[in-house]
């Protein structure tokens, strides 16, 4: 059996994307996550969720800049890894922070804006993960594209979730916000260009 070029790249990417989780797990097991390992797990898994969301959003601009199609072929995997890390992040909260006390969790979600925003982002990721298969893409047709545009909102909620949690030093969340702004800005610019072009064509 031989792999095509893109299949090989995908396989490598699949393994690479597992590295952060593996390193975290290894360090946790070997007590290398510092004095507060549970807090470290939550924080790290959250940051990796954001990084994967931004990586997913990078693929479309990358295709535009490189004039190659391969970034789009990697987009789904990156998106699913965002969901994977988001699930880990949520799990650390439900387990190590709340110990599955559902009453407390409900109260927390309703009362704390940054938790509300975080859980909303996770819930919005669910339908995207479910409809990520080829058959779902075919079945939903045009609606698939509309549905998956919610990733813009999800990534924004993710960054807001981080910003809102920080005590005083906003530098790190603002870096994520700046990258997100560039990635979304690229799309807005493209959209404007297209609109201007179609208006010009009509006249």
């Amino acid at each position: 059996m031989s792999l095509s070029h893109i299949q090989f790249v995908k396989l490598v990417l699949f393994v690479v994307c597992l590295i952060p989780a593996t390193v975290l797990g290894w360090n946790f097991y070997h007590d290398q996550l510092g004095a507060n390992p549970f807090e470290a797990l939550t924080r790290e898994s959250g940051e990796w969720t954001l990084r994967f969301l931004l990586a997913t959003l990078l693929m479309t601009p990358l295709r535009g800049v490189l004039h190659q199609s391969w970034p789009l072929q990697l987009r789904r995997m990156l998106g699913l890894y965002s969901f994977f890390y988001a699930c880990l992040h949520l799990l650390t909260y439900l387990w190590f922070d709340q110990f599955f006390d559902w009453q407390e969790i409900t109260k927390d979600i309703l009362k704390r804006p940054f938790i509300t925003v975080g859980i909303t982002a996770w819930i919005l990721l669910l339908p995207l993960a479910v409809t990520s298969t080829n058959s779902m893409m075919r079945r939903l047709g045009r609606r698939w594209k509309h549905l998956h545009r919610s990733i813009y909102l999800i990534a924004s909620l993710g960054v807001l979730h981080f910003l809102w949690m920080v005590k005083a030093d906003l530098r790190e969340p603002l870096i994520y916000a700046a990258i997100l702004l560039i990635l979304l800005g690229y799309r807005v610019t493209k959209w404007w260009q297209k609109r201007a072009f179609s208006i010009a064509a009509r006249q």
Partner: protein, 319 residues
């Protein structure tokens, strides 16, 4: 010289340094790299756990009446997991960034409503005070906690020496401002210098101490060397570090955190499971080293001693 109370570590339990070094050498030369690596990790861990890091030892008395007998947080956690924004906002930066801080010579300016204002050298400040060990719980506003064996003396004894006037209703403390040695101060994360304050009766309370050491040794820089406040029934940020100024005032001081976020951090900052931080619950905490969370106690478990200071006050308004 090392003068320790008998309950600490028996001299017989301390591995002689030459034995330890010999053993290390033996391990490294006879076994493979892998084996030696593992065993040196293990020895390093056990030999450091309940002792200091080899900083200067202090002479002190244990004060059992005020100390908890809960399990102490290991030295390396106490000295490597720090909130000291002057040296960076993450927990692990202060342990290495603070190494460049010069703590000698050190002087403290005393001003405001006192009969004896002036600038005192650290030696003058410390000279008349016998040091005591106080094993206190420390509860951070971020929902984690530690148990730390501080070495210090009652703040009340120090304050009396300056003879505050009847107009002294509050004490304000200021941390050193020296951006060239405190890299965190180069960014305006907080409105530097760090300021904290106590009401006079809080400052004079026997639980309130000035700490100059922990685990029997002088304070590591990242823990607020050379001298810091410890107020165990308040959130950790009230226990201001590396103090250079003590001012007695009639007006309530404005703390650095209150200035930054007045609706989140008030003047009192008493540990209270019933009064939430606007963004998170304060009902529970994680004691470092433990998996399950503990219930946070009113006044951090010091209610018997300090609750009377706040009778008649609405603690949810005076947070």
């Amino acid at each position: 010289m090392l003068i320790k109370k008998p309950f600490a570590v028996k001299p017989s339990e301390i591995t002689d340094r030459s034995v330890y070094m010999n053993r290390r050498k033996f391990m490294q030369t006879t076994s493979g790299f892998f084996l030696a690596g593992i065993s040196s990790l293990v020895t390093a861990k056990t030999s450091e756990q309940q002792q200091g890091a080899g900083l200067a030892k202090l002479d002190y008395q244990a004060t059992a009446a005020y100390s908890t007998d809960e399990e102490k947080t290991p030295y390396q956690h106490v000295t490597q997991y720090n909130n000291f924004y002057e040296f960076g906002t993450d927990k692990y930066s202060p342990a290495h960034e603070a190494q460049s801080l010069t703590t000698r010579p050190w002087s403290v300016t005393v001003e405001g409503e006192v009969a004896k204002p002036g600038t005192y050298t650290l030696e003058d400040i410390l000279k008349p005070h016998a040091l005591e060990e106080r094993i206190y719980r420390l509860r951070c506003v971020e929902r984690w906690s530690m148990v730390i064996p501080w070495i210090g003396f009652p703040l009340a004894d120090l304050i009396k020496r300056f003879e505050p006037t009847s107009r002294a209703k509050y004490v304000e403390f200021t941390t050193l401002h020296r951006p060239e040695e405190m890299p965190g101060q180069k960014r305006r994360v907080l409105d530097w210098p760090y300021v904290e304050g106590l009401r006079m009766d809080e400052a004079m309370h026997p639980l309130t101490i000035m700490a100059v050491g922990l685990y029997g040794e002088v304070l590591p820089n990242q823990n607020g060397a050379p001298m810091r406040l410890v107020v165990p029934w308040k959130y950790g940020f009230k226990s201001i570090k590396s103090i250079v100024k003590i001012r007695f005032t009639e007006q309530q001081p404005v703390s650095a955190w209150t200035r930054t976020a007045p609706h989140e951090y008030g003047f009192y900052a008493n540990v209270n499971p019933g009064v939430d931080h606007p963004r998170w619950s304060q009902a529970r905490e994680r004691r470092l080293g433990e998996f399950l969370k503990r219930k946070t106690l009113l006044f951090n478990g010091y209610a018997d001693e300090v609750a009377s200071l706040y009778t008649g006050m609405d603690l949810s308004k005076n947070y």
